[in-house]
């Protein structure tokens, strides 16, 4: 279907290089980089070094790495990068729950400094006062934003922070002789899967509360779920559908009365910075995702950071070391009486912490609140416009407005045209857009989740809307175009039947050659 005149949609075509897998670029003898030989004075003293390796531990044959010249390696990975739709290049509002906002380049520049990169965690603290100051001040800022009393920056991601919360909860109950009896963790279906899964790692039995018909987590169900076996509650708010649970303080009250600990998953904090906090909702623990709300880049799936805050009482359990300030000297603080120990080697994902720190400094108190305000404005603007698209609905009536994201449904479109949410996602790729569905299970049928953040202009939001409208029109007039999409992307419809078959799946090139040798040989002919 022709792009309409007046539409903001682009005649986009993704780069498609048909770039081989690196192993196919193998040309024996080519070199990508040279390693220096040791100085003669050294080899004079120790010889070739390799012959001293005990025979049993010598590598028998060289590793089967490809031999490729330097420029070709560069070209290869640059081409792969061109076949990737990073947020910087598109209007990345379709990856709901991920909070894809602008990652300022100045933060990359700062992080590339030798003063950030070339420091070792075991250096004497007097030589890393700058790094420790960054970590300490991050702690202070996050305390302000959440109302919590102390932060650990050690966890590597949101899920990792949840594991840390579960460990703290466990140790807390253990210190009261109740670790055996309190073996149940309550969470909700619209909280991130890790709220359940990471707690299960620590041995907890998970009790899930489903949403009621309005979309709120069912408070009565919570009351029925708590008992003397309750260890705690881990809950996201606003939940992934974008609705703020106004009874959240009731939830924490019920769990506290039962003797449980309350952990706040604040992965969805972007719309509420400076507006509402974990403290007022009476949470004991709360965490933020530095690579979401705090503008550190997502990196294709990491590195990330999960900053974990605790009340005074539970701060005694945080992983060590924390970063303290004594007069004007920063130090690694191991004085955490009931620490759970460590969840990560060394002190934390420093480059991620540094970039989020830089972002907070750039925004300031007013900027944080403005970011939240505009994120919510953008989201509700999209909500209004998407509801006007015939075929899209925004299930659940809870709340007058949504906060920073909305989970919508294409169910009506599917019933009327047979085009499903996966089809729409793939067709949107043809216009340079992402669109994500939902975590599993699909409680909302044919879901799609959109989270604009504060980073995109109204023009851009309108362009994305034009994209949605265009695909919906196609679904009604030429559904095959949508069902056979993508057409302008890097590849065509993928055959994923092999991926669940042990006889066919191939996680490495060597496994692929072993199982599909003939097919592999054919591909380049």
């Amino acid at each position: 279907m022709e792009i309409r005149k007046g539409s903001r949609l682009r005649n986009f075509h993704q780069a498609k290089w048909d770039e081989e897998v690196i192993f196919e670029l193998n040309t024996p003898g080519e070199r990508g980089i040279h390693i220096p030989e040791v100085e003669k004075e050294i080899s004079d003293v120790v010889g070739d070094g390799l012959s001293k390796i005990p025979v049993a531990m010598r590598r028998a044959a060289p590793p089967g790495l490809p031999e490729v010249g330097q420029m070709r390696v560069l070209k290869h990975f640059l081409r792969l990068s061109q076949q990737n739709l990073g947020a910087d290049l598109n209007i990345d509002i379709g990856q709901g729950t991920c909070t894809i906002k602008y990652n300022p380049k100045i933060n990359e520049k700062i992080a590339a400094s030798q003063k950030a990169r070339a420091i070792h965690p075991h250096q004497d603290v007097s030589t890393v006062q700058g790094a420790l100051r960054v970590m300490h001040e991050m702690d202070l800022y996050l305390r302000e934003i959440s109302g919590m009393d102390r932060f650990s920056l050690q966890p590597s991601s949101g899920s990792h922070a949840i594991l840390t919360m579960a460990s703290i909860m466990h140790k807390y109950h253990e210190s009261r002789g109740q670790a055996e009896t309190r073996d149940e963790l309550i969470t909700t279906m619209f909280s991130h899967p890790s709220d359940a899964a990471a707690a299960a790692v620590k041995g907890y039995k998970i009790i899930t509360i489903y949403p009621d018909e309005q979309g709120f987590p069912d408070l009565e169900a919570l009351k029925a779920a708590v008992s003397e076996r309750t260890a705690g509650l881990f809950i996201t708010n606003p939940e992934d559908i974008g609705i703020f649970n106004p009874k959240i303080a009731e939830f924490t009250r019920v769990v506290h009365e039962a003797g449980g600990i309350c952990g706040y998953d604040q992965a969805n904090a972007n719309g509420i910075l400076g507006i509402t906090r974990a403290r007022e909702a009476d949470f004991d623990l709360c965490f933020f995702n530095l690579h979401k709300t705090f503008a550190a880049p997502h990196g294709c799936g990491g590195p990330g950071g999960g900053a974990l805050g605790a009340t005074q009482e539970l701060a005694d359990y945080l992983p060590v070391p924390l970063v303290g300030l004594d007069g004007d000297r920063y130090f690694l603080d191991y004085d955490v009486p009931h620490t759970i120990g460590k969840v990560r080697s060394f002190w934390g994902p420093f480059p991620v912490i540094l970039k989020s720190y830089a972002w907070i400094l750039s925004m300031g108190a007013e900027g944080l609140k403005e970011a939240a305000h505009v994120a919510v404005l953008n989201n509700n603007y999209l909500l209004k416009k998407i509801r006007e698209i015939d075929g899209a609905t925004s299930p659940y009536t809870g709340g007058k407005h949504r906060i920073e994201q909305v989970r919508y449904s294409w169910e009506k479109l599917y019933e009327e045209t047979g085009v499903d949410t996966h089809d729409v996602t793939l067709r949107l790729a043809d216009f340079g857009f992402h669109l994500w569905q939902s975590h599993h299970p699909f409680v909302v049928p044919q879901p799609f989740t959109i989270e604009p953040t504060e980073s995109y202009s109204k023009e851009e939001l309108d362009e994305y809307l034009d994209g949605l409208r265009h695909v919906v029109r196609e679904a009604r007039t030429e559904p095959e175009t949508v069902k056979r999409a993508p057409h302008n992307s890097v590849v065509h419809r993928i055959d994923d039947s092999t991926l669940d078959d042990p006889g066919k799946w191939a996680v490495t090139w060597r496994a692929f050659l072993k199982k599909h040798g003939e097919a592999a040989a054919k591909i380049r002919d």
């Binding site: 899930t208 009565e220 019933e415 599993h440």
Partner: protein, 371 residues
């Protein structure tokens, strides 16, 4: 070349427009016609076929003559192979049964049928899970989980299945509704049996969704969890439904899929029991009732369930009821509660509330049960 079987129940759906529930029985049918009802199944079947043909057309169509499928095929410009005919002047349930048997014998790749719960029941009784089937909703009341959500959806799923895009099948419940009761505004659903239908989950849950195979893994986990908590001093009354089958497998016992069994200390005390037998056995013993919701509406106990009567439930006690369901089952309820209808208002009222529904090996959901 794939073969598609098509069975249309010409009278299905005639009651709805004139506020009659169902068209079982000649009397009711005549009354419906008097009130001006017209056959709907033909049109629905046509819609489904048309939908199927837009995506996939290389199949042979087998059907019965006239309004049992032939006319629907011709209306879609498909030349069917007519392999039999129904009774005249009106077709009967026996015709449906015969058509189904014939198609099964010829090994059709998919048997599409247009009708309601009654039609599903007839086909189930005739061929069970021998071939893959799929219902085109045309009846007034649909409680069985073997129907697509609409005729168009039926066409789409059929196309996906015949073309190989859907490779998996799963068993789905066929519900038996007491028509008399139903006409008196009283719903009593009973599990009648199972049909095999295409597992369209990927179309509904995205390409990364689980499958019937995975569902069995979760059911096995549920079974393991319940099994490990069983104690030898209690009597366990195990209700119907495939979700509880792995539990019986773990116990090494025969499962009466549609009936109720009684187990103690790993032994099957009684199989496919009646209410009276249950009451006898549980007379002075601590007992636990293990149930799973059946059918598309989420009934944990339906009135048609004669064995698990109000008397049995009162003896067992609410606190000794274990409900098991896969997360997927709960998700399909879309926030609606699980349902209880024992036939006794007081008992129902007592049973309402929130239950720990076992959803995994050690995990559960707290879910509302309502009357």
């Amino acid at each position: 070349m794939k073969t598609l079987g098509l069975i249309v129940n010409p009278v299905a759906g005639m009651g709805g427009a004139v506020a009659l529930k169902g068209t079982d029985g000649l009397e009711i049918l005549e009354r419906a016609e008097q009130l001006g009802a017209t056959p709907k199944a033909h049109a629905r079947a046509g819609q489904a076929l048309a939908g199927l043909l837009t995506s996939y057309d290389s199949f042979e169509l087998l059907t019965f003559s006239g309004d049992m499928g032939e006319s629907s095929a011709i209306a879609c410009e498909v030349e069917p192979q007519v392999i039999g005919s129904g009774s005249t002047p009106r077709t009967t349930p026996e015709d449906t049964v015969e058509a189904a048997r014939q198609m099964a014998e010829r090994g059709v790749d998919l048997l599409l049928f247009a009708g309601g719960d009654g039609t599903a029941r007839d086909i189930c009784g005739a061929i069970g899970t021998f071939v893959t089937t799929l219902g085109i909703p045309a009846g007034v009341k649909i409680h069985s989980a073997v129907f697509a959500s609409s005729p168009a959806a039926a066409g789409r799923v059929a196309a996906s299945f015949l073309s190989g895009a859907i490779a998996r099948v799963k068993e789905a419940e066929v519900m038996d509704i007491d028509e008399e009761e139903y006409r008196r505004q009283v719903l009593s659903a009973r599990l009648f049996g199972y049909l095999k239908i295409p597992d369209a989950r990927r179309l509904l849950q995205g390409p990364k969704a689980g499958s019937a195979v995975h569902d069995r893994a979760i059911q096995a986990a549920i079974a393991q969890g319940i099994f490990e908590r069983m104690t030898d001093d209690r009597l366990y009354i195990v209700g119907p439904g495939t979700t509880l089958q792995p539990l019986m497998d773990l116990l090494g016992l025969d499962n009466s899929l549609l009936g109720v069994d009684i187990v103690r200390a790993g032994e099957q005390i009684a199989k496919d029991v009646s209410e009276r037998e249950i009451l006898e056995k549980i007379a002075d013993t601590a007992c636990t009732l293990v149930l799973t919701p059946v059918g598309g509406q989420g009934f944990v106990v339906g009135r048609g369930n004669q064995q698990i009567s109000p008397a049995v439930i009162r003896k067992v006690g609410k606190q000794n009821i274990i409900i098991a369901a896969t997360p997927e089952k709960l998700t399909t309820l879309r926030g609606r509660p699980l349902l209880i209808d024992t036939g006794d208002v007081e008992t129902d009222a007592c049973l309402c509330g929130y239950y720990r529904v076992v959803t995994g090996y050690r995990d559960s959901a707290v879910y509302r049960v309502s009357d």
